[in-house]
Symmetry: C2
Amino acid sequence: MIAPDQAQHSVVPPNEIPARLGRKRDLSRDPEILAAALEVLAETGYTGMTIDMVAARAKAGKATIYRRWPSKAELVIDAVACMKKNDGTADALPDTGTLRGDLIAMIKPHSINDGQRKFQIMAGVLAMIGQAPELAEAANAAIVQPRATANRMLMQRAQDRGEIAADCDIDTLSLVTPSMIAHRVLLLRKPVDRDFLISLIDGVLLPALGIPAPKPTPGP
Amino acid sequence: MIAPDQAQHSVVPPNEIPARLGRKRDLSRDPEILAAALEVLAETGYTGMTIDMVAARAKAGKATIYRRWPSKAELVIDAVACMKKNDGTADALPDTGTLRGDLIAMIKPHSINDGQRKFQIMAGVLAMIGQAPELAEAANAAIVQPRATANRMLMQRAQDRGEIAADCDIDTLSLVTPSMIAHRVLLLRKPVDRDFLISLIDGVLLPALGIPAPKPTPGP
DNA sequence: TATATACGATACTCTGGAGTTCCGGATCTT
DNA sequence: AAGATCCGGAACTCCAGAGTATCGTATATA
């Protein structure tokens, strides 16, 4: 999917590598171009983004880009899909013993900035989800699902150790924070800061799971 | 805001109407053009929408449109803003005596279709919120806020009559359903049907407010 | 009636950007 | 060495669509 035209001779025997002549394609440029595309996408949105911007940002020629992706749309789809791989959300899930501790521990400066950026990209990408439904799936898989999955795993663990009831609607609740972060970034254009995330945890998630508010007034 | 250039002689005494010569502008065409713009917007998105499409849909000339709005962007902003006026969400808020009854009563076929269409428009409009922050406000005010306000009023009443605790985070909770509907329509591209809305009410809102699930298994 | 503006319809201009082609130089296979 | 393909860079073609201008007609004021 990354380099769509690398498998062009599907007729030749699979054991015989095509062994094409000439200079080899520099595969290390692929991720650099995709990263540049994501940067421009986050800054200007899909409509404002031009291939020249991406080429300039990646210090590449336009021909190099069109040699690897057939169109602007496919480049963007690929760039969004590749976010999923280098995300690192699932690594090192916290384990503090309480669900609230785990959820709070997920709030790190890095993950806040990363999240802000991802939803910025989502805003730029939503421009063309009407024409490319596959892009909606890619964006969902790369941006929303990692967070939802992390939430689901934390809640599942809490359920297994009896901290929350067995009949909680974990699947629905795991989507609450991603959805409300998206609304805050896309429409309200407010920052996703620590206080907002804590208000989601203490005002929505934990109450919905039957865990009472921990500190009504957190002293200084 | 609807006809930006109708007040062009701000110097003349306000009691003396300009009394311009020539044929008068047909004001009844304004809402027809705005409605056509919303239709095209919902179908094709901002990028795919052309002024010719809007003109054809409204059976109007392009000049007629440009005589009233200076650009495509301003037309769209106005169209979205005008949704807020003819929405009818706030009228006839249900009053069944219980919060769950009220929330369920809000689920009517009409409001479901209307909501689906509004969030479709929101998808089309998100394309340019990067360039026009005012459009983000307009979309928020026209699409999300009416629903959030209705939710907030219902919860406030429940709080006043003691059905739910006084320290509930009503402001945050009122945004849960609009945010999750948006995610479902925009990214998941699934229909917003009755079952989904009920799962939000019984799986998130009511538990978060401390109201136990009413029927674990709703018999036939 | 004379003038001025709005109307729908059509033709027109103009610009930005997608996608293509060519260049000189580098790197590969044979 | 020779031929083929890559590279970054730049010039190029091509077109959809925003915005403008014009025309014949309708409706307003003076």
